[in-house]
Amino acid sequence: MSSSFSKGSARSLGIAIAVVLVLGMIAVPVIGSRALVQDLFSVLTLLVLALNWNMLAGFAGLVSVGQQAFVGIGAYVMFACTILWGLDPLVGVLVGGVAAMLFSIPMAFFAFRLNGAYFAIGTWAVADIARLVASQWTALGGGTGTSLPKGTTKDMFGVPFVKDLLDVSSAAAADAVTYWLALALALAMLTISYVFLRSKMGLGLQAVRDNLEAARSVGINPTRLKALVFTLCAFGTGLTGALIFIQITRVTPQAAFAVIDWTAFVIFIVVIGGIGTLPGPILGALVFYALERLLADYGTVYLIALGLLGIAVMLFARRGLWGLITDRTGFDLLPLGHAPPAPLSETRQPVPERT
């Protein structure tokens, strides 16, 4: 009894902390420095990318090395919306996400024919195709790439309002708006992941991960489930990519479809933090960002340290930092399990008729 009580109170304490944390994060552009806003923007966007990849690799067993395709498509379509079609960049972000999702459908059609390592290489090749096609898009500079026109973010939806509200420069207001979007995206992604994984679909996904044959025999269609996750994650990744490139302000095929920046580092984040858990990517994103802050000015040394860290985690802490923490403390922050209902009475519950 007492243990269940302490568990319950730990949970409500956790919720309280989370609420305070979220409120604090919402307030950052008002009370914090711009540097902080930008740091958190980086962390949050990395986190969203990581959560998406974690959904794919950690839960759906889809080890994709082609996430840069979605980032790049999101970014390019956002630029096209802004530059070619005169839309608001934020509308462009949405369109970019949708475009990435649409692209993921034929990509899934191809890549789902491949398994394991083949799948990884297949997605990588498709992403490279996307890069090469983007570098033929002459209206957006072809291989040269292009920049967001001067002043774009100044007039972006919400920026003038925030500028007046907080009495800051346009640039700071644009930072704030993109930051809030990134925060909203990260929270939405976390919530959706959590809800999804605890839903019927998520349960099915975990069953597939555990035992494919048995999963099929209890009526789960693994391909459909995986395709659903793949396209949804493409949407999330595309949105994030577009948002990131509002901040980067310049798009080139190499940068927008960079396998290192948008996939390899994201894999690092997830694996270091702990794959197949929800808090893992959060932890990973924080560690990654801290490392970057500390060491990025040392160029090669930073990258060597990062590479060694990745290797070390694989050798000594397969389940990542979050795995270490849960092993030591037995504490799980966002448990994905379904507790059985307490047996209320011994009388048999009426079973609904099959339809």
Binding site: Q38, G141, S147, D261, G299
Partner: protein, 396 residues
């Protein structure tokens, strides 16, 4: 002003483009020393773009919001200069930029590069370097100086430089006007392993002249394949790939008599406004400090600090962005790479405000007995004050 002035410096210090940044440490140290002696209270915060445009954008933001710099200096290739300038312009922080031809720098930052009507000047970012027209002019004059069939094969990749050269602000109209017939096989991706298609096209068109702006590995691939497949042009003038002596040495025999653009060398008759050193002195000091041969970007890394020091001294309040930008715009300075001043007639109207040009001449690599190479100035139509070292020789 009295407050300490903070300068951010961004360049590709690691990654594939790091050869451009060899002089950074030396120049920063030298600048700090001289600035102190001249009573400038400055601090330089050096950031590495890792040759990655995404990272360049990130460090630009960092410099502006975290380090709160008053001025940014940025160098070497559009991959680094453009993201930094775009962000600084939005953040209203003055930038002095260099070592990227001005077209990819200026046009590349426009939202719609293909629509000149939409191009806008900048208020805070200022760039000095030469333009494609200078490089093209030098090449055309070199080709004019020898006897050929005036048929030119062009090797232009699908990247910022290649697209600029191939565009209507690039070589095609200039070559046509000068009476050269151009064969452009089409844009290719960098790090291509086979150039047979291009070589076939050039052979079919009987090109005796070859030009292009490939990256070094691609030029080597192309050039050895061309030799193997019997394409033997009389003149080969290549931009970018032959910039660094290592790339030419790597070619061995095949590097002899290749020609290229030359925008700074110890032979340039200019002096530093900061230290008073001649070009030759500067190259010597660099070679002593860094234990390696001088390269063309060395002069420009130095010149960036010259311009910065000059503008800071002239600005009413160097910590005020607008005042500093105004001071930069008003620059008229003789530097180690030549006279730098914005708003001059030698730049087209639309970019005049933000672009200042420095001289560029034509050079030819000559292999010496011991296997090392000399870069000989063979064309100086653009800047007659730079002495010639010889005349263009045909390839064997």
């Amino acid at each position: 002003g009295n407050a300490k002035i903070r300068i951010g410096y961004v360049s590709p210090q690691s990654g594939p483009l790091s050869a451009f940044s060899e002089a950074d440490n030396f120049m920063v140290a030298q600048f700090l020393e001289v600035a102190k002696a001249q009573g400038l209270d400055v601090e330089v915060i050096v950031k590495d773009s890792q040759s990655n445009p995404n990272r360049a954008a990130e460090v630009a933001r960092e410099l502006i919001t975290r380090d709160q710099v008053n001025l940014i200096l940025v160098a070497s290739t559009p991959e680094t200069t453009n993201p930094v300038c775009t962000i600084a312009e939005a953040e209203e922080i003055p930038v002095i930029s260099s070592v990227a031809p001005w077209q990819p720098w200026f046009i590349g930052q426009q939202g719609n590069p293909s629509d000149p009507g939409s191009w806008q000047p900048f208020d805070y970012v200022y760039h000095f370097f030469w333009g494609l027209e200078d490089n093209i002019g030098a090449f055309l004059r070199m080709w004019d100086s020898v006897q050929t069939n005036r048929k030119v094969g062009a090797l232009w990749p699908n990247d910022g430089d290649g697209n600029a050269w191939a565009s209507e602000v690039g070589m095609p109209p200039a070559a046509a006007a000068a009476g050269f017939e151009l064969t452009d096989a089409g844009r290719y991706q960098n790090l291509t392993d086979d150039f047979s298609a291009q070589i076939n096209a050039f052979k079919r068109a009987e090109c005796e002249i070859m030009t292009g702006i490939p990256i070094p590995p691609d030029f080597t691939t192309f050039w050895t394949q061309a030799m193997q497949q019997g394409f033997n042009p009389k003149v080969v003038s290549i931009a970018k790939a032959l910039l660094f002596p290592e790339s030419v040495v790597a070619l061995g025999d095949l590097g002899h008599n290749l020609s290229c653009e030359l925008y700074w060398s110890p032979a340039f008759p200019y002096k530093s406004s900061l230290t008073g050193d001649s070009s030759a002195d500067l190259a010597g000091k660099f070679q002593e400090a860094a234990k390696r041969q001088w390269t063309q970007p060395v002069g420009f890394t130095h010149a960036l600090f010259e311009v910065a020091a000059d503008a800071l001294k002239r600005a009413e309040d160097p910590t005020d962005g607008d005042a500093l930008a105004e001071a930069i715009a008003a620059t008229r300075l003789d530097t180690v790479v030549g006279n730098i001043g914005w708003g001059k007639e030698n730049v087209p109207e639309f970019a005049r405000r933000n672009v200042a040009k420095t001289p560029l001449v034509g050079g030819q690599w000559r292999r010496k007995e011991d296997g090392s190479f000399d870069l000989v100035i063979v064309e100086n139509g653009n800047a007659p004050e730079i002495p010639l070292g010889g005349t263009l020789e045909l390839l064997a």
